[in-house]
Point group: C2
Chain length 336, copies 2
């Protein structure tokens, strides 16, 4: 039997455990051109909120009654495609389930670099790393000496953005919630400064941390945190919209200060992006990021939940900000 | 004696006639390397609101007691610089005054194309045309088949944007206030459709005018008009922030629906610009626009006030939207 996490109702706001059920179903048949994959790690990410909304936004909604969409990494147990053989490690959109039958086309890559942990294929060497790499370098376009501010800076994407910006000669300022995460930004991820958005004098602290204003803002939060950063933009600044994690519901959109005048007087830009539009950059990003990991010049954290039962509540956990680093679900004890 | 318009107080919101005074002063001396220019046309433009604010935004504020900053076109009456001779027509930041002593460096160009009206040097062949040209082509980057929406579409910049977009194979939709301006958009400036933002069913009309959504939004207004357009952005859309004429005061910024989620899910961009950052594009824009005028393929309107006494109230007139086309002040009856 196969165990699967099924979407049973549409959430209002952040998806909760109650929006899902775990069901057992017969092991699926493997059609020609397909593979059977035993999932070993499941990814949990902010984008999942969008995937379960009835309104299509950047992806078709996951249908009610269907397996929850998810990136996953697993091992091929049966192959009916010549490019794959049993034992291969593969990563792709395999869903929150123990076993997945997938077409060869849906495999993002076969993982051959086994000198780094398999779990990195969903984090720093997966969509998380690609997101940080293309968002910062393609949209943010940092120049040496720029001040780069990152929100959710202790998170999986933000921590990588800060480190790549630092490698590019920028002053890096992280925004995170609480003293522990602020310390993590500076001590572990080597931000030049970090500011606690939960502190009463956040605005003053942000000013002190950005004495030369802000040239690039890599935004994972939206909302009031962003308002403070946007007031400090320099002429020609670039705002990269990567996520909106601080805003619980967008239907209707909450109100905030209009930004047109700031964008005009500062000749600034604000641009949203999805890493999945940059598949053509994945090989370059992967080469760069895996070299950094092997050299020890890039640090990352993972937060691993044990077992499929943890998956349904994991999105809410992520949005509460209780995790440190890339949030994953491991499907069994494994030495892999 | 020289007559000058002096800034006497800082406006709250839109500058009014009462913020200025007209004074007489002795004719200025012409130092070495300088010219004496008799102004013939003075420009009136939305950016003047920013120039008189105490808070520096994109230009240093005009000091209290100083001549109001303005683009102007005039005739050299005395030259102490070898590049100019009496009788030359020149355009530059000469201020709201009858006579100006200016350095040679401050002349934007000598006007040699006398087969088009001299007034065009401040409009379609001045900063107005450059604004439309670089804002649309450099920031908006229209592709054939795109739907391009323009606010204040019957205005001096908007009407040129619409026509250039049309030449680039786009569907053009103008937004303007009132039936007369809407008719002007379609009949005179050849927009494919035009929508009255003052109509009760503006939102529905905009939807009907943009059946394939919006790919480029050239925004001169900000505010509620923009909110309606932004809800209709397509994936990869570009929003060009050129002006914020619908919002009377930005201190503090008014509230509006947050746009981060739209920019993210649509992978859209929003960018402010000032044409003065694109001086390097001026020769190209001038070649293109003057060729269009000679061919008769580009239509423009001018609204000319007579005499320096009209200047102080002209900014408020512009913001009321009472003018049609580029607003100018003519300083004397002239056959030029």
């Amino acid at each position: 039997m196969n165990k699967q996490v099924i979407l049973t109702s549409r959430p209002e706001g952040i998806p909760q455990a109650a929006n899902f059920a775990i069901v057992e179903s017969p092991m699926p048949m493997v059609d020609a051109g397909h593979l059977l994959v035993r999932n070993l790690y499941l990814s949990v990410e902010p984008a999942m909120r969008g995937w379960v909304n009835a309104a299509a936004n950047y992806a078709d909604p996951v249908p009610l009654g269907a397996v929850m969409r998810s990136f996953a990494t697993g091992r091929v147990t049966e192959s009916r495609h010549p490019r794959f053989k049993p034992g291969d490690f593969v990563t792709g959109l395999f869903g929150w389930q123990e076993y997945a039958v997938v077409s060869a086309d849906s495999v993002i890559r076969t993982i051959t670099d086994r000198d780094v942990p398999l779990s990195t294929s969903l984090g720093v060497l997966g969509l998380t790393g690609l997101t940080a790499y293309v968002g910062l370098l393609e949209i943010g376009r940092p120049r040496p000496g720029d001040t780069v501010v990152v929100s959710t800076a202790a998170g999986s994407v933000g921590s990588i953005v800060g480190q790549i910006a630092k490698m590019n000669g920028c002053r890096t300022v992280g925004i995170a919630g609480g003293a522990a995460k602020v310390a993590l930004c500076v001590d572990e991820f080597r931000f030049d400064a970090a500011v606690d958005y939960k502190s009463g004098d956040f605005d003053d602290r942000l000013t002190a941390a950005c004495p030369a204003g802000v040239d690039v803002y890599f935004d994972n939060t939206a909302g009031a945190i962003s308002d403070s950063v946007i007031r400090r933009l320099n002429i020609g600044a670039r705002v990269v919209i990567c996520g909106t994690v601080s805003v619980a519901t967008w239907d209707p959109p909450p109100l905030g200060p209009r930004i047109e005048r700031t964008l005009l007087t500062k000749r600034a830009s604000m641009q949203g992006f999805l890493a999945t539009d940059y598949e053509h950059k994945r090989p370059e990003a992967l080469r760069f990021l895996s070299r950094c990991i092997r050299e020890g010049s890039l640090r990352y954290r993972e937060d691993i939940l044990e077992g499929l039962l943890e998956a349904p509540g994991a999105i809410a956990l992520l949005y509460r900000g209780d995790n440190n680093g890339k949030l994953l679900v491991r499907l069994r004890e494994t030495e892999i």
